[in-house]
Every structure is written in C-alpha cells, then in structure tokens.
Subunit: 226 residues, 2 copies
DNA sequence: CGCGATATTATGTCTGTACATATTAACAGA
DNA sequence: TCTGTTAATATGTACAGACATAATATCGCG
C-alpha cells in the first residue's frame, strides 16, 4: 500500500462496498495520508483520478464527497474505418462513389458556417469485399484546400483529414435510419432494414471542416465497455 | 504563463498549429520547464492531462510524442431516463407494463452468468405523456434480492438499481431495430420504423446484475460533443 | 435569532529534491 | 557489421513544505 494506484484501488473498493456511501463525505486527504502512511500529495493524486472518472466530487475546503449518482460514461473511440475493419480481421476495401463541388443542403451549410460550394464525397467502405459502411461527406474546401489535390479514388477523405485537418471540437450523434431503395441497394440490405447511422461534424479554430453521415451495414452495433 | 492549465493550453495550441507535428517528439519536460519558468512537475502535470485526453503518447525515457492519429473519443453520459426527459423540459411519466419471475432467454442468462428465474420487467417511459423509451429488463434477484420488495409500478427498476446496486463493470451497445407490430403499437411508431436501441449489461464483483434493452421513440439520436 | 465579518481549514497548486523505471545510446568484442 | 552489456537519461512517482483558493465554522452585534 504505497503507490497512488494502490490507494485509488482501495478507495474505489470502499466506494463499491458502501463503506463510503453515495453522497457522503470521505475522510480528509490529510487523514487518509496518515492512515496509508504516505504523503498527502499521493492521496490527492489517487483521488484526482477517481474524480476524473466520475466517482467523487471534490471542492476546496468542502471536502471530497462520493458522487450521489455516479455519472456513468460510455466512451467510444472514433476509429478510422480501415482500422475498425482490419481490427476485426477483415480485408478492408474502399470505393469512391461520387465527388462533386456543389452547394450543400441548407442545414449542413448552416452547421459548417459556410456559403458557396463544398466538396461532396460519397464512398463505400468494404469488409471482405462486402459493404460495411456508406459515407456521405461534405468538406469545407476553404478550410482545407489541400483536399482538392487528393485522389479520393484511392484514399478515403477521412484518412486524409485525420492527418491534415486537426479539429478542435466536434459533435457526434448515433441514430437509426430505415434503408430506402438506394441505400438498401448499395449496402446489400433489405429495403426498410434499420441501419445504425452516425453523424459527425468537426470544426477547427475558425471554421467548420467537415460534416459526415456514415450508414453502417445491417446488424451493426456500436459497442464499448463502461 | 504560470499554471499547469496555461501550459496545457499552450502545448495544445502548438499541437494544433503543427509546431509539434503528429508523430514527432516534443521537447523534454526539463527543457519545457526552463522555457516556461516553472517546475518540471508542473510541466508533467500539464502533459499528463493531454496524454489522458489522447493528444500525446508518453513513455519513460522514450519521451513524449504527439499522437500520430489522436484517438478521438465520444463520451456519452448514461443518464437516468427521468433526468434525460426532464432535462429536455418535458414531463416525465412511467408505466409498468409487466413484471414476472421467469427463466431468461439463453443468451441473456449466459451473459449474466445465472441459472434459474430472473425478474423480468417491461416498462414504458413517457415524455409529456407520449412514449419516449420502452424498457425490457432482466434482473438477477440472487444478486439484488432487495428489488423483490420494490413497487415497480411507481418507480423504475433502473432508478432503484442506481442507488442500491453499484456495478463495477458493464457493457454498452447502440444499435438499430425496425419496429415490429408490437413495438410500433406501444411506441406509437410506424411499423418498420428504424428505432435506436441500446443494450446494457452490468456486473458487480461476483455476478451479473441486470441486462436491459431500451428502445427509443422514432427519430431519437444519442448525441454528444467531441 | 439572524446577519455580517473574521477565522479556520480542506482541497488545489507549485516547488525542489530524490529515487524508480523503462528505454535509448554508447561501447566493446566477436 | 552485428550482438550483448553497460551507461545514460526522460518520464513516473513520492516526499515535504509552502502558498492559494474556496468553503465552512465561529464569533460578535443588533
């Protein structure tokens, strides 16, 4: 019982065992430092980690309280589709379906905060030669002009953007959409099948970068651990 | 430029500005400490936060490298449905549809690691009197026997479990399901509508606690910021 | 008893030093 | 030139002490 990670684990055990019940104030850092025979800074480090994870609420002077309802979080990594497909031991494939410079629908233009023509890219991502995800993307070429020189028949817009267009904020949503004729056709799904759909928009310091809608194959689930 | 948060912000600015490009090693902590006129521990604290957020990879001796592809994470809070509905300024309502003690389907029994009868609860969560989410839940009564005494006609199983059954791990998945006759009827959705479906299973130290499937109303999206 | 001012105090942060650990660099020998 | 051993070193951690900040406790007065 010497390191901050040991102390973190013991504190978490006491929370789970209800020795420190939800809503209650736990012993002070100085007291816990005495109990464990370590420096106060070491206790502080351990409790900081638990607070970051949502188990504790901490305020100067007010003390440290076990969160009443620990806000449980589910964290999904936003993978590059290639990594996701290859990570499942499948062979990744990519097919560009369309690439135009055109005005985006009003909601997307509003979201990206741009007027004028955007690069519109549609593509298919394959796993073992079969459709895995359909991508429908709008890119603000004023923000990332370099993409105009990229051969999107061989490399997906996302893979290029990940390395050339760092974003400072984004939004992300998961929904469900019924496959219409076109989507059912391109994805090899039943007409009307419920497909997981992800929408993501990213911004850099000054402008919207890209808005994308990804529609996954029938039966796809987005999974994580809590 | 004195506190660890200032240093964190400046480091992040350099990452975004590509002064420290992806894959490259950044200056050593000791050097940055000299540059900023602070203690090395202060630089360490700032870089730790950036590493926790995924911007940096750090190894003893090897130094600190800007993540090649920062793994972006989307973090969703797993709210109590009442809080979610009330948080959207709607009136929360709850209706118990069914409560039985019976054997669970094999996959669920396997997942919870239990044999024998489980408490099976179905319920409807309402927003402004209209269906918001349908809940289909299995509870391992051997793990949480107290639930047998709970009047689930007035309080949802989840609200009781949150305060009485802390879990130490869980899994979480978001998918899409087409509304069949029964679901369309109870949710007031079109038959065949694509509905966002969440499945969650939680375990305590020794056993599975509960497995739940929540089907949201038509048009529901799970949203967060990156 | 209630309110405002002051004192106290628990967490947040910073510093400097020391030691631990994992990784890279350097060196010697085959 | 390659391999194994040793040395050097950058981050990880711990300690002790100090100061800052925000919140609670205490005290005095009307």
């Amino acid at each position: 019982m010497t390191g901050w990670q040991d102390i973190e684990a013991e504190a978490l055990r006491r929370i789970h065992a209800r020795a420190w019940p939800p809503g209650s104030t736990i012993p002070h850092e100085a007291d816990l430092a005495k109990e464990f025979g370590v420096a106060r800074a070491t206790v502080n480090r351990a409790l900081q980690a638990l607070a970051d994870a949502g188990w504790l609420d901490r305020r100067r002077k007010a003390g440290t309280r076990v969160a009443l309802h620990p806000v449980r979080k589910a964290t999904f990594s936003i993978p590059i589709l290639r990594a996701e497909i290859e990570g499942a031991d499948s062979v990744y494939g990519y097919r560009l379906l369309g690439r135009t410079l055109e005005e985006a629908p009003a909601p997307i233009a509003a979201r990206l905060g741009v007027a004028g023509a955007l690069l519109h890219v549609t593509a298919l991502h394959l796993a073992d030669g079969r459709p895995y995800a359909h991508e429908d993307r709008w890119v603000n070429v004023a923000a990332v002009p370099g993409i105009m020189a990229v051969d999107l028949a061989v490399a997906s817009a996302n893979e290029w953007l990940v390395t050339h267009a760092p974003f400072v904020r984004g939004d992300y949503a998961i929904g469900a959409a019924a496959a219409d004729d076109a989507m059912a056709g391109v994805m090899g799904a039943a007409i009307g099948a419920a497909l997981v759909t992800v929408e993501r928009t990213t911004w850099d310091d000054t402008a919207g970068i890209t808005a994308v809608r990804i529609t996954f194959r029938e039966g796809h689930w987005v999974r994580t651990v809590i």
